[in-house]
């Protein structure tokens, strides 16, 4: 009798695991999630589904809201303001726009690329749109995605960080104020869900990263030592 009970318990566990698998398919069941990378644990299509119905898996939200400590490298080099993929580094009108695209699985807290003081925090745009903000970032005087632009005063001139929303990311939090003195790598804000961060640098500064590279906020050096030339 005892053996039958043990067999029944084992089979019940197995059936429960298979029912769970079926309930979550084609997305991974909670039993296998721990062995998958974040991109496979919560596939893009599943996150877009959550965006539509406004319900998110708690485990995903906990992962999304992570805010790890970062250790900026020594020196006064310019750091990446966000985690993500460098998608563009164009120069226009004397300004180099380093575009960093954030995915649903990137850490979304932005950090200051330099030490200095906050000159101003601007709000721009009135629409939400997709396209990773690559083109829209340059359209200063035209309708552009909702975004915040934090301008820093440094020895080499003004440097700005734009936090740009997308259709999915509709909220931006800015944690610094005008005239506040900040240090390299300090947290400056957060975009809620995947979007774009643009670092605006003087065109004379040469970059240390290339398009297609992944960068980490507050750790990756995107441009070498700053000097007041």
């Amino acid at each position: 009798m005892m053996l039958l009970i043990i067999q029944g318990a084992i089979l019940s566990l197995l059936i429960a695991a298979i029912v769970l698998w079926g309930a979550y398919f084609p997305y991974p069941s909670p039993l296998v999630r721990r062995w998958l990378s974040p991109g496979k644990r919560w596939p893009d299509s599943q996150i877009r589904l959550w965006l539509k119905n406004g319900k998110f898996q708690q485990a995903y939200l906990s992962y999304f809201y992570r805010d790890p400590e970062r250790t900026p490298p020594l020196g006064n080099s310019i750091l990446a303001p966000a985690d993500g993929l460098v998608t563009s580094a164009e120069v226009r009108d004397g300004v180099r726009y380093l575009v960093i695209a954030l995915s649903f699985w990137d850490m979304h807290v932005q950090r200051s690329p330099v030490s200095g003081s906050v000159v101003k925090v601007e709000s721009k745009g009135k629409d939400y749109m997709d396209g990773e903000g690559r083109v829209f970032a340059f359209l200063r005087d035209k309708p552009c995605p909702v975004q915040k632009r934090v301008v820093f005063s440094t020895d080499v001139g003004e440097i700005a960080v734009r936090l740009i929303t997308s259709l999915a990311a509709r909220r931006i939090e800015i944690w610094v104020q005008e005239h506040e003195v900040i240090v390299r790598g300090q947290r400056i804000g957060r975009i809620l869900l995947g979007s774009t961060v643009v670092l605006e640098l003087p065109a004379t500064i040469s970059l240390n990263v290339q398009v297609g590279e992944r960068v980490k906020a507050g750790e990756t050096v995107v441009a070498r030592e700053m000097s007041s030339a």
Partner: protein, 66 residues
């Protein structure tokens, strides 16, 4: 054959091990599908061969034991 299906008041070890192995193999297939960058046709073939080998081993072991 009766021992295979039912024996001494509990499920026969033959059918029990076949069921457990098949269930675990199914879940293992799902995990491999998600983890490995492999064409689904090739993965299906590999998993089917693995399943048949496993079932063969269980049946052979059961045959030897009985």
């Amino acid at each position: 054959m009766n021992v295979f299906w039912w024996t001494s008041g509990h499920l026969g070890w033959g059918v029990f091990s076949l069921t457990v192995f098949t269930g675990i193999w199914w879940l293992f297939f799902d995990l491999c599908w998600r983890l490995l960058a492999i064409r689904i046709g090739r993965l299906l073939a590999l998993m089917a061969i693995g399943w048949m080998l496993g079932i063969g081993c269980i049946l052979f072991g059961f045959y030897l034991a009985s």
